[in-house]
């Protein structure tokens, strides 16, 4: 599985089509991958396991989310305590 994810990461071009978010509004797609990355990192750290699979979520949210949203510069930010976008 870790081998597969490494190949998948090497072949990464851009965020692929995600059938959970088939429409024009991709806000939730960005939010979900951001969330999944941080949860994955936390879970892997808790287990002491390799966090390489989490890089997939990182690449996807980096492709989709505006830099300002994840760096806390813009007024629209991913602050963990706020409600996620609808």
């Amino acid at each position: 599985m870790a081998e597969d994810i490494k190949t998948k990461l090497e072949r990464y071009k851009t965020a692929p089509f995600d059938s959970r978010f088939p429409n024009q509004n991709q806000t939730r797609n960005c939010w979900q991958n951001y969330l999944d990355f941080h949860r994955c990192e936390k879970a892997m750290a808790a287990k002491g396991a390799d966090a390489t699979p989490c890089q997939w979520y990182y690449r996807v949210y980096k492709s989709l989310c505006p830099t300002a949203w994840v760096s806390g510069v813009s007024f629209v930010t991913f602050c963990p305590r706020r409600h996620p976008p609808a």
Binding site: K13, A15, Q26, L64
Partner: protein, 227 residues
């Protein structure tokens, strides 16, 4: 870009825009046919060549029910075909983000390295001779030609809209929302557009320029810009 007193669409530079132009021509022909018929009947009536003393008109009632239904079908079928074509699932090669500000665009290419730049209109007093007034920008959006591209449009402050008529793209830029639009450029070239949602004093002065180039040029440009 549009020329002086241009009447029709700009030359289509994406497959969807080609379809839209063809559909528009078709719909316009249908509209011309209907208007010609109405004008002809009007002329006949004015010349008193049309008289009516019928009380039972089953045949004509049938004709002017069936014929409009056929016309509507002739319009609906290609229209829905294009609508569904625009909604097809596509796997893009590149994701590009366009963020609208008052009054400029920021573009981000973050699939690999973090390439971010602002794109301001070149003021008329700084415009070199022969360049297009109110359309040129300091940093163009370079994209690889003939590649499916996903553009994610959003805004940082007020509503804007990212539009490039030659590619058949117009997408609202809404703060807090990521709007996705796919497009493919069928040929290399430079395509101009303008902000399409009123956003304040300089709404007319934040244009968009997409430059479509072969992949090697795009890669060279992005490595230069990233360094």
């Amino acid at each position: 870009m549009a020329n002086h007193s241009q009447f029709g669409f700009q030359d289509a530079s994406s497959p969807i825009m080609e379809e839209l132009v063809e559909f528009h021509d078709h719909a316009l022909m249908v509209a011309l046919a209907i208007c010609s018929l109405v004008l002809y009947l009007l002329a006949l009536m004015l010349m008193e060549k049309l008289s009516s003393n019928t009380v039972d008109a089953q045949e004509i009632e049938l004709i002017w029910t069936i014929l409009p239904a056929i016309v509507l079908i002739m319009l609906a079928l290609p229209s829905l075909q294009i609508l569904y074509m625009m909604d097809e699932i596509n796997e893009p090669d590149l994701t590009l983000k366009a963020i609208g500000h008052q009054w400029y665009w920021t573009y981000e290419y973050t699939d690999f390295k973090d390439l971010t730049f602002d794109s301001y209109m070149i003021p008329t007093m700084d415009l070199p001779t022969g360049h297009f007034r109110l359309l040129e920008v300091d940093h163009r959006v370079i994209v690889p030609m003939e590649s499916p591209i996903r553009i994610i449009v959003t805004a940082n402050d007020v509503l804007h809209a990212w539009a490039v008529p030659a590619l058949g793209v117009k997408t609202d830029a809404i703060p807090g929302r990521l709007n996705q639009t796919p497009f493919i450029t069928t040929r290399p070239g430079v395509f101009y557009g303008q902000c399409s949602e009123i956003c304040g004093a300089n709404h007319s002065y934040m244009p968009i320029v997409v430059e479509s180039a072969p992949l090697t040029f795009f890669e060279h440009w992005s490595s230069l810009m990233s360094s």
